[in-house]
């Protein structure tokens, strides 16, 4: 009787699993961690893809729990795309394992870690340990704010789509080409918006006018040739001490920095203290597309960040 029960259980589980992971409406179900990758997958896959992100765009992507709802969504996906570079190391391994979806686990045809296709910045050259803060041994994972890096990530997404839906490989290749062209055009437009920043930092770029709280704008700056005076954090992921805040505030002010950039998930009180000591405008911007916010697409996010920097630089009122 026990063996009969086990047989029924396995058969039920197999059927239920197969039914749930079947292509809904003929579309490839893509689940990504951050919203930018879902946007990219939708752009590349077009009508053949239904993409959704696990994060809403308001989280600190370093500190996310393995929420049970994530497991349910991953269980029903054909493709799961991660940033990689250890950004999701805290929550995606248990989510993937608990999903019981072998196809999207590492080594599966639907597993897609896009960071491996990106030219990574700030990769440590020496030994790394936790006394240095939240240093990622594989390099800075916040690449999605660079259109060029996101286009590179798109190649990994397209490759995963081709693997699971090989009959429409040409559709995804074409989608990737269109996606890359769109990002190229976008970066040209954003670069025009940011021209005053480049002018302010001098032709040689030796007079940085921006400082960031956490090094999550590094790729944005690199894409557009903006030189950063550094980060307010002394060690990534570690709130700066009072001494560090004073030091970096005074150094920024005396060094000609004119605007500080912070993400919405950065500690509000610390950012406010920096503003108070330095007297510099601090603009607080989203670093991800937000499902329930005003910036629902990647071009809107890029344009918003650029416009805010330029506005603050020009003496306009910074966002709080």
């Amino acid at each position: 009787m026990t063996s009969k029960f086990s047989m029924y259980l396995i058969a039920f589980a197999t059927l239920a699993g197969s039914a749930a992971t079947a292509f809904a409406d003929g579309k490839v179900q893509v689940v990504t961690t951050i919203p930018e990758l879902a946007w990219a997958a939708a752009e590349i896959g077009g009508s053949r893809v239904e993409a959704r992100a696990l994060l809403a765009g308001t989280e600190n992507p370093h500190f996310v729990d393995a929420v049970p709802e994530f497991t349910r969504l991953v269980a029903e996906a054909q493709v799961v795309c991660l940033v990689g570079l250890d950004l999701e190391v805290g929550y995606m391994p248990p989510v993937l394992a608990r999903s019981g979806n072998a196809d999207v686990q590492p080594g599966g045809k639907g597993y897609c870690e896009v960071g491996k296709g990106v030219e990574v910045l700030e990769k440590p050259t020496g030994p790394v340990d936790r006394s240095m803060g939240d240093v990622h041994p594989a390099g800075n994972p916040h690449f999605w704010l660079s259109p060029k890096a996101l286009a590179a990530a798109g190649r990994e997404i397209a490759a995963a789509l081709e693997r699971v839906d090989a009959n429409h490989a040409s559709h995804y290749r074409l989608g990737l080409e269109t996606f890359a062209r769109r990002l190229d055009k976008l970066s040209t437009e954003v670069a025009i918006t940011l021209a005053p920043v480049l002018a302010a930092q001098g032709a040689a770029g030796d007079r940085p006018v921006v400082v960031e709280y956490h090094k999550e704008f590094a790729y944005f700056f690199a894409q557009y040739g903006i030189r950063s005076a550094g980060s307010i954090e002394e060690k990534p992921g570690v709130p700066p001490s009072a001494g560090r805040l004073v030091e970096v505030s005074l150094a920024a002010k005396s060094g000609g920095v004119r605007v500080a950039l912070a993400a919405e998930d950065n500690p509000v009180k610390t950012v406010a203290k920096f503003r108070e000591i330095s007297g510099l405008p601090v603009i607080v911007v989203p670093t991800m597309i937000q499902a329930s916010g005003k910036l629902k697409t990647y071009p809107e996010l890029q344009a918003h960040i650029a416009a805010e920097i330029v506005r603050a630089l020009g003496g306009g009122q910074a966002l709080q």
């Binding site: 589980a13 989280e59 500190f63 709802e69 349910r72 029903e76 394992a97 019981g100 919405e264 998930d265």
Partner: protein, 355 residues
């Protein structure tokens, strides 16, 4: 039945070779967690151990075994009766690739019921186990060897059901061979999850467990567990955690004993690194009677304000004040006040951010 060896040497050997093993392409992830805690009397008549000790120094190894299975081994050195002993906590073969939407564990593990019982003690949000946990599962949690199967239902909301059966020769965290039970430990759990306004979410579990010991005594447990979290950025702004359990012990000969216990722990972030919570803990034997057969009202209640400092997700310092009172009809209340401290740290592989 628990594997157990007074072999600190084994612990050292595994630990020292960890760095050599971690980069050999096997995917082996190694971490170690050390949990130290102490309880101190605040008054001369109060009761506490009055010492600060290492409760556990746990080594956790996780790696894919092959294309289908993962292997998990966690072993801890404990200080018991003045001696550090080394014992296997969990050692199991697991797979989430064998059957769609399913997870299987085969081996020795903490039984997949409730909230606290599914987490290692150094991951708990407070220092000492609530009375209900100590009474029904043991101070560390109930573990045993057997098989556990979990299935994620294909519904438009999260619902996972689990069932497990284990040897049942012993129950809780025993250090003896035990005896073959008439009916092994068997349990089931159904858990669901709902998003809540303001970036929050709540998980609710329903649990059942039963066992008939060799003596013929039956034990049945039923309970609910809840965990709700609200995060802002990287900070856990609010945590609400609680469990309520009822146990029925039906001796082969004798009267049925029913006990009820519950705890609730609300915790709020003071800053990005400090959290403050209060553990409210209640336990009673529902069927307690005096010699004349009259029902005796009784309870044990604890209120434990707890301050937590987390420099990062890898280290925790905790300070708590435990004020408790044990009440029973026709007896004077027994009050106790204790100061509690805890220090934990994790080194090695990054821990999972379980919900």
């Amino acid at each position: 039945m628990m594997t157990r060896a007074r072999a600190a040497g084994v612990f050292s050997a595994i630990f020292l070779s960890s760095s050599a093993l971690s980069d050999d392409g096997s995917g082996l992830k190694i971490s170690a967690a050390v949990d130290s805690a102490g309880a101190f009397r605040l008054g001369k008549d109060d009761r506490a151990t009055d010492r600060f000790d290492i409760r556990e120094a746990e080594l956790i190894l996780v790696a894919p075994v092959d294309q289908t299975f993962d292997g998990v081994l966690s072993a801890a050195a404990h200080r018991e009766a003045g001696v550090s002993v080394f014992e296997v906590h969990e050692a199991y073969l697991g797979s989430s690739k064998l059957i769609p939407r399913s997870q299987i564990r085969l081996g020795q593990f903490f039984l997949g019921v409730g909230r606290l019982n599914r987490f290692h003690r150094h991951e708990w949000p407070f220092i000492f186990a609530p009375k209900v946990q100590q009474e029904f599962f043991g101070a560390e949690g109930a573990l045993d060897s057997g098989l556990e199967y979990s299935f994620l239902t294909p519904l438009p909301f999260f619902l996972e059901v689990s069932a497990g059966v284990t040897n049942g020769w012993t129950y809780g965290h025993a250090h003896d061979e035990g005896e073959k039970p008439r009916k092994p430990t068997h349990y089931g759990r159904a858990v669901t999850y709902a998003s809540l306004p303001g970036s929050g979410g709540a998980q609710l579990g329903m649990n059942y467990m039963s066992r008939i010991a060799a003596s013929g005594d039956r034990m049945t447990l039923g309970g609910l567990d809840l965990a709700a979290k609200w995060r802002h950025g990287g900070v856990l702004d609010l945590l609400l955690q609680g469990e309520v359990w009822q146990r029925t012990k039906t001796p082969r000969n004798g009267a049925v004993e029913r006990s009820l216990g519950a705890y609730f722990f609300p915790q709020s972030a003071l800053t990005s690194q400090f959290q403050f919570g209060i553990l409210l803990d209640y336990y009673t034997v529902l069927t307690l009677k005096d010699l004349a057969g009259a029902k005796v009202s009784n309870s044990e209640q604890h209120v434990v304000p707890t301050l937590t400092y987390r420099a990062s997700e890898f280290s925790t310092l905790r300070l708590a004040y435990d004020s408790s009172v044990a009440k029973q009809t026709a007896q004077a209340d027994m009050k106790n006040q204790i100061a509690e401290v805890q220090a934990t740290f994790m080194i090695g592989a990054h821990p999972a951010h379980d919900f």
